[in-house]
Symmetry: D2
């Protein structure tokens, strides 16, 4: 049983079926196909707004390309210290923004707040010696498995506007955040002041598909060139778009996310009842960060459960991630094992 | 009937089936999965040599990443003036190599020769004012549908060695070239002196899969970082590797290429018998460049055949591309139509 | 006697004196000093236009920084095949423009014309696969020692406007060109449609000083950041500005250029009277490209004259460059020697 | 009286004289001149080691170019949070290292220690998701006016070696540090394990001159290309080298630094005797950071003394910088005024 990450899961059956369905006849390449057009319309409907949509295959590509439209080479993008763009993309944002800086801000529970940001701004804006504040990036759901609320997002957006900064959301787990919030997709994006969204699907059931979504298409004017020179324009684009299209059809994205979140909650509830076990962060999406005694961790490993220690090889915090297809039985098996180990200590 | 490109075709059924087959259980992400390991072994067998293999999703990514390991930011890569890296990648090689230069050399039939290169070398090597010669890139099969022979390749490799240049092959249509040559994959790559190969699969039946293959793994030491920061490391890597693995299994890649080439030859033979029609280049792979009277071109368009004019909107040269699944009946329909039009003129 | 280049000469005495004169008391750093302010006013007067002025120390920095404001990373700048930016800056324009391309166009006598450019445009503008035409750069005086006339410049500017391209002038020898033309500085720059000028002083008597001049200050909005991050913002800026200020005072720049041009003309006239000697290009500024028999070249070297062979070590074309302080006696000595050698052959 | 910075001072008379002395006859350009050769020999003597020397005009260029040889585009350079490279170079290191990251570490008195660094290393070395630790940069003297001792430097160098990191020293005020330490230049550089030194002269009496010094010339193999494509190779190099040459002759650099340091010490001693005034950091070079009551600060401004508030417009810490030519009388005037103001409060 593998709780290492939501990317160890495979493809949602509906999405795999869509790949097969797309495999008929010839289609114009590079995004001129019918499925890509349908995808853009679908996203416009879902977000209740005109959008410019650019499918890519990885979240790193989505984030780095999106940020490159907001940040000049001498610009700074502010984010949480543990954000994927700061820690897990091997410098992709710096690469795509030609040397810009990613400034990570330490803050509790994976979320930065208006006060954290306000303390750093204007940050030498206009002073030639300093890199220039250019954008804010929020991770939704966050790296700590928490979710930015509508008002939190709007407050940060308001600050961004006041300082002339762009607002990006890394939505690798956007669906998980959305179903937690229970609001409309528009509420937590453009209505709250978000400029660009990395709309993730891979972690929630696609093989490899994300979409960069601009809510002001004018801001996407040169995105097509950026994507192409990054090597991220697919010739057989229909197979990228088909994944996203199926992801959205019949609310598959929301159903998948609801399941993953429910499994995380089930895991959290069970773990909270075990002595010596403590949740480090609120569980609002599909990730848990759980502090537990070392013998318990080792016992779970010994039973074949897979997951990561989070604070280094000797740390007593582990991360557990559920996915669109995590079986409730596996969650329960984990809990049963954990309870058993604990009792026998 | 669509002869616009080999990328308007879909996925080879065997490859689609492999995606479904790979979709079982969990797998470690980012290339630590079993399918990726099998793929590397398979390629080592096929090339009869130790290899370092890096799957990516697009040919542009493969080329730009491969070249970035051979060329410093102040370096020059020499290629044919019509090479994909020079013309069709929106500056990806320049981007990945941090400002290097792609120097296109005009030469007949899409192929550069030793003499073309020798005339440009040493090109100011060691002189601080000049960008520094660093690599040669050959397109195999070429943009003109022709193929570099073993001896042609070896002679260029020898020149490259003498001048301290790396040798890259853009093998977006490598299989088509290989089956034309009828030699071993090793003969036309490392035995001939090639350092790095962009091994294409997308145009020959994959959904989106290419592999960068180094024949000296030491030269790939930092490739993993380059790929990651380019946003080209897939989390669910198994689905990229599975495409390539199926592509190689039971010689699918060779069978697909032989079919595409055979259809191109069938088209070429038929067209040569039509008065006023002339092949611009030898047809050695799956592309034809055909000069024909404007009324004939227009008549074919009117009948619903799809293809591109190659010399601009009024030029009388067209490109016809066959694919792994081009039906012989469609080739014959094209020829019948062409003959009919011609007769009635 | 050294005709190798105008950069083997030292500093104009007036400019050296200005450095000493500027060396009194303290001055605000980074360009907030009084001399820098005076320089900007002086250039506005001379060019009869509002200007934004940025002193830097090298022509390569001036060109690369100027172009980076006109050309996106996926852009193309068109210039003559022998332009300094194409051949002699080791990729600085590509570096500063984050991977843009410099496309050199072969054309007679160092100058590109409207027809050369028109043949290449629109060059795939708007097509995502192609790097995008973005700017034209003219070298004034050219690498062949020739000068673009007002009408030639205006015609190219008109073409640039029509295709949405910026127009840059590499004026490393701008003064030499200007005195040849005898027009107002405005006539050959903004009135003719030039956007940005690399205004050179080093080759014409400064120690190390050039100015990037924008005729539309709005286009210079981010230039200060570009200059700083390139490491080209001087802390003791007054000593850079003082060179340029003295260069302009009392028409020193024009006097220096007139002298250098006059010496070139004197050399040209003398050489034309020698049998077997031929000027490759019209002599319009301070450079001569002279085809002469190999024994004559060797004899001049043997007599201690310094200059470069231009077509490689065995070529029979030499370049002779005069400077602001070239002595007429040295010119005459060269001619006398050349005549003597020729006679004795 | 101006204590704003050591870069508001002019040129040391000996250096100005050297510019005039260098202005005779012609000299080969781009560093092939006799003065540049002499400079390199002189630095080899002073550092008691073979060196590769590259003059440039600004400290930002020296730092960014030097670091680019130690750090790949996906690399991290560790430095103090207030280091010039982190705060005051508008992203130049990121630019020259093609997207690398500058990681500032907060630590007391402007100096990072072995423990600060050890806590961050290995920092994911070898893990493809993370940017890779590549170099450490120390500022000598530091931004806080303090100096790294020989053993402090050696301990950091030892850590760097163990983790495979390069060690750079930003020596914009290297002379000030050296005379404070009273050791040999070799002791605090290569003997302690430093790979590359940005050897500053501008702040200590040059007009605009720094030297990048490699103690292992093999590591400088491609530096010449980096410098050229950055636009930092001077054509009339003799005037850059002449500044550095005069700077070193007859120990001018040490004499200038001793004077600046002595003036700082004089200022510090005087200030310490004033009630309510406190030195924030030890005064070891030529910078003082002084906490003083707001009315005192305002009174000093009102009397015409120039300096910066250091903690923002309302902060009560000021920075005072002395220079090679700071007059003792001006120091005393400042102290007298300060004492007077304080008394009258």
């Amino acid at each position: 049983v593998n709780f290492s990450s939501d990317n160890v899961a495979g493809i949602s059956p509906e999405i795999l079926a869509a790949l097969a369905a797309a495999n008929t006849g010839t289609q114009p390449s590079y995004g001129e196909d019918a499925i890509s057009a349908r995808l853009e319309r679908r996203l416009a409907d879902i977000f209740e707004h005109e959008v410019a949509v650019f499918p890519v295959a990885t979240g790193t590509a989505a984030n780095a390309l999106a940020l490159s439209t907001l940040v000049p080479p001498w610009g700074v993008v502010y984010c949480h210290a543990e954000a994927h763009i700061a820690v897990d993309e091997c410098g992709a944002p710096e690469f795509y923004a030609a040397g810009a800086r990613v400034a990570g801000i330490a803050a509790p529970h994976g979320k930065i707040g208006v006060d954290d940001l306000a303390a750093l701004l204007p940050g030498g804006k206009g002073v030639v010696h300093h890199m220039q504040p250019a954008a804010i990036s929020l991770t939704q759901a966050s790296e700590a498995g928490t979710v930015y609320g509508v008002e939190e997002t709007a407050a940060i957006a308001e600050l961004a506007r006041r300082h002339g900064l762009g607002l990006h959301v890394d939505g690798a787990r956007f669906a998980n955040a959305l179903v937690h919030l229970g609001c409309a997709p528009a509420d937590i994006t453009w209505r709250a002041g978000v400029d660009v969204l990395s709309f993730g699907a891979t972690k929630n059931g696609a093989a490899a598909a994300e979409a960069v979504i601009f809510f002001d298409p004018a801001k996407a004017a040169d995105f097509a060139f950026r994507r192409k020179r990054g090597g991220h324009l697919f010739s057989k684009m229909r197979f990228l778009s088909a994944q996203l299209d199926a992801y959205l059809e019949d609310d598959l994205w929301l159903r998948n996310a609801r399941h993953a979140n429910a499994m995380a909650t089930r895991l959290a509830k069970g773990l909270q009842q075990i002595a010596g076990v403590r949740l480090r962060h609120p569980v609002e999406a599909n990730e848990l960060f759980v502090e537990m005694p070392d013998p318990l961790i080792e016992a779970l490993f010994a039973k074949g459960f897979q997951f990561y220690r989070w604070d280094g090889p000797r740390g007593n915090c582990v991360r557990l991630v559920t996915a669109f297809n995590t079986a409730a039985a596996n969650v329960d098996a984990f809990l049963t094992t954990a309870r058993g180990v604990n009792r026998s200590e």
